[in-house]
Symmetry: C2
Subunit: 158 residues, 2 copies
C-alpha cells in the first residue's frame, strides 16, 4: 500500500473531529501495523470496494468514544450504549466516505459500518495486506486510525 493513500483518511479524520466534535485530533506516529491488537476498546470498521478493496478501522478508548458520542448526541453519555456505538459507526462512515472521494482512481464505495467492542479484541488484516496505522492525540485521549488496501498491481509500461 502506498503511503500517500493514507493522507485522505488523515485529513478526513481531522476534519470530522474539528467540524462534528469541535475537537482537535493531533496526528502522532505513523507505523506499519506490526501486531494486530487493537489498542483501544471500541473499533469502528468499514469496508471499501471498487478498483481495489480495503478496510478502515477507527479505534477509541471508552473515554474518547463517550466524549465523541456525547458531543454528537448533544447529551452527556457515561456508558457505552447503542447510541454511542451508532455514533462511533457514523464517525467511521464519515471518515471513510470523505476520504474515498479523494481517491477517485479507485472508484471506491463504502460498506456498512460495524463496531467491535471487547477488551483485547484484535482486528486482523489478510497477511498479504500491510495496513498503515496512525495514532492521534485529542484532549479526550488517544485514538488510532488504520487503513489497509489489497495490493494493487503496478501498471506495466509498454
Amino acid at each position: 500500500m502506498r503511503v500517500e493513500y493514507i493522507n485522505p483518511f488523515v485529513t478526513s479524520l481531522k476534519n470530522a473531529f474539528k467540524t462534528m466534535l469541535a475537537c482537535e485530533a493531533r496526528r502522532g506516529e505513523i507505523a506499519l501495523k506490526e501486531n494486530n491488537c487493537a489498542k483501544h476498546y471500541v473499533s469502528g470498521v468499514i469496508g471499501l470496494s471498487g478498483r481495489t478493496v480495503g478496510t478502515v478501522v477507527l479505534s477509541f478508548s471508552e473515554a474518547v468514544a463517550l466524549k465523541a458520542a456525547s458531543t454528537m448526541l448533544m447529551t452527556e453519555t457515561t456508558a457505552i450504549n447503542e447510541d454511542v456505538l451508532d455514533a462511533v459507526g457514523e464517525l467511521t462512515n464519515m471518515v471513510a466516505g470523505a476520504a474515498k472521494s479523494e481517491l477517485e482512481e479507485f472508484e471506491l464505495q463504502v460498506s456498512l459500518p460495524n463496531v467491535v467492542t471487547g477488551h483485547n479484541h484484535e482486528i486482523h488484516f489478510p497477511s498479504n495486506v500491510v495496513p498503515i496505522s496512525i495514532s492521534f492525540e485529542t484532549d479526550w485521549g488517544p485514538l488510532t486510525l488504520e487503513v489497509g488496501f489489497a495490493p494493487v498491481p503496478e501498471p506495466v509500461c509498454a
Copy 2:
C-alpha cells in the same frame, strides 16, 4: 431486511464447507439478532456495497477454525496463527462472494475480509439494521452466520 436475502448466504456457506472442507454444515436456528455478542472466538467480517450496503459475519469456535484451516492448508494446525486467520478470512470471502452473484439486483461488491479475535468480542450493526443470524452445526462444532443489510426503500408504485 427481507428474509429471502439470507438464502444465498446459507447456500454458499453449505457449499463452501462441502466443497472446500468436505464437511457438512447443518443449518440450525434462524433468528433476528437480539444481542450483539459474537457467540464464538473468531469472526470473519466482510463488507458489501452496491445498490445497498451490508456486512457478512462468520463466527467460529477455536476448534472449528482450527479444523477448517487444517483442511484448507492440508496440514494439522493446533494454534490460532496467521495462517488460520487467513483461512477464516478466505472462507468468509468465498461465502460472501458466491452469495453476491445470487443477489444481482444489488450489484454488490465485496470488500477486504478482516478477522476479529478475542473472548467476548461483540460485533455491532448500526441500530437501524437488524441482522439475521443463523446457527449451523458441523462435526467439528458450531458456527454462526450473520448477515445485515441497510434498509432498502420499498419501490413506490405509480
